[in-house]
Structure formats: C-alpha cells, structure tokens
Amino acid sequence: MSNIIGVILLCIGILFNLFGCLGLIRLPDVYNRLQSATKCVTLGTCSILISLLFFFGFSEIGIKALVAIPLLFFSTTVAAHALARGAYISGIGLDKRSIKDDYKGQVIEDQGDMEQ
C-alpha cells in the first residue's frame, strides 16, 4: 500500500517539475520565470522527497528526506527573493505586458542603471 502511495507521489512530483520547466521556457521575463521556478519545482521536489518517506518508512533515508524539505523551502524562497531584487537593481525591466510597477524609483540610484 505504501509503495502505491509512494509511486503516485513520485509521479505528481515529476509532473510538477515538468510544469515548472515548461514555465521556465514559456513565461516572458525573469520575474515570471522565477514564479514557476519557485512554486512548481518546490512542490515537485517536496513531493518526490515525501514519496521517499513512503518507500522507506521512518528509517534513516525517510527522516533525512523530511529534513531536506524545510531546507529546500528556505533556500528557494531566499534565492528567489535575491534573484528578483538583483535582477531589478541591475536594470532588467518588467515584461511589456506588466500593468503595474510600484518598485520603480525605490531602488537607490547608485546601485545600478535604471534606464534600460
């Protein structure tokens, strides 16, 4: 039984990782691509890790997989934030479909060129 659940979770994980990669190709600019890279890929990988728990039970491997989940969460969120902010400061503009930009003018001028 736990094997079946494990396989299902593994499939969900791989599917979501695939969606994340598709988003990385299809979405228009850095910020939107980060959206798919953080959300779909994190859920996909977490799902794969939880499936490991179902395959191996609460043994060494299962517990380590569980410990990896919060690590993954914290590192993805911090990385996404740092990438988005870094991209904005180094002058990569939003996509032309964007309808709002409150951040403009908030960044300190000498940190980068805002003209692009």
Binding site: F16, F19, G23, Q35, V67, H81, S98, D102
Partner: protein, 161 residues
C-alpha cells in the same frame, strides 16, 4: 542565552541530518555548531524567551496547515497559467503595507508570500513590502493587501509577537 539556544538548535539539526550517535559524529557536530554559533549568533532572533512558550508552537502548527493548503493552491494556479495556451498573466510589482514589527515575523511573511499564488517578495523598504505578482486581479490597494498578506499576518502575529 541567545547563543546557547542557537547552539542547541544547530546541534539537534546536525543529529537529525547525520542520524548517527557515535562519539566521532557527536564531536564533529558540536565543533561545527560552535563555529556556526560564533559566526552567526549575532544574527539570531532577539528574545529567545519566545522559544519556551508552548502556545506559539500550537499556532505554528495551525499556520503550517494553512500554509501547505495555500502552497498547493499556488502550485495548481501557476501550473494552470503555464499550461494554458494563451497564458493568462497580468504581471507587475505592487506595494503592500506590513503590520508586523519583528524581523523574524517579517522574514516568515516574505517567505510565505514567495511560496503562495503567483507572488514573490522582492524587497522590504521601511514598512512596505514589494511583491511581484503574476496576475494582478484588482488595482485597489486595500483589496490586494488583504489578499496577499492578510491571511498570514494574523497567524504570524500570534507566533512571533
């Protein structure tokens, strides 16, 4: 006190990660934890007393379930936008007022925002958080502030403040 708490947390984390109770492993873990504590102790949470108040852990658990639910919704939402042939996106950066005081609370709010439907926290300046949103559904600041941070803030207040 702060340093000691950080040391204990790091050491427990090391034990979980290596999953071994041999003396060599314990010594390595202790040394690594001491070095990390010396370098990063000053960045640790102020007011460690909060670690010893059980009610906060209860709210953390409640919050965790809400968060996982929101996170699942976020994933389906983004997957839908990616797979839809016309890509229904309306991206932009919005500014939302923060109601949390403590740094750790703000950090967790920013992380929760990054993990939920189509939003990434880009920066915090003074009392405002800047959020990249993949689908801006309304232009009224009141409405979207509530939508983005309102549902988390009241729980985070109970956990961290």
């Amino acid at each position: 006190m702060r340093y000691l708490t950080l040391f204990i947390i790091l050491f427990l984390f090391w034990l979980l990660l290596t999953f071994e109770l041999s003396p060599e492993n314990l010594i390595t873990g202790a040394v690594a934890a001491v070095i990390t504590t010396l370098f990063f102790g000053r960045f640790f949470v102020r007011g460690v007393k909060k670690f010893f108040q059980p009610a906060r852990y209860f709210w953390l658990l409640v919050y965790l379930f809400i968060f996982i639910w929101e996170c699942l919704k976020a994933n389906f939402d983004v997957a839908y936008r990616v797979l839809h042939p016309a890509m229904p996106i309306k991206p932009g950066i919005v500014k939302v007022k923060l109601n949390l005081e403590s740094n750790i609370g703000r950090t967790f709010l920013a992380m929760s925002i990054t993990m939920t439907p189509g939003t990434i926290a880009v920066d915090i300046i003074d009392d405002h958080i800047f959020i990249h949103w993949i689908f801006i559904s309304s232009t009224d600041p009141e409405v979207y502030s509530k939508k983005i941070s309102g549902r988390f803030e009241k729980h985070l207040k109970r956990i961290f403040e």
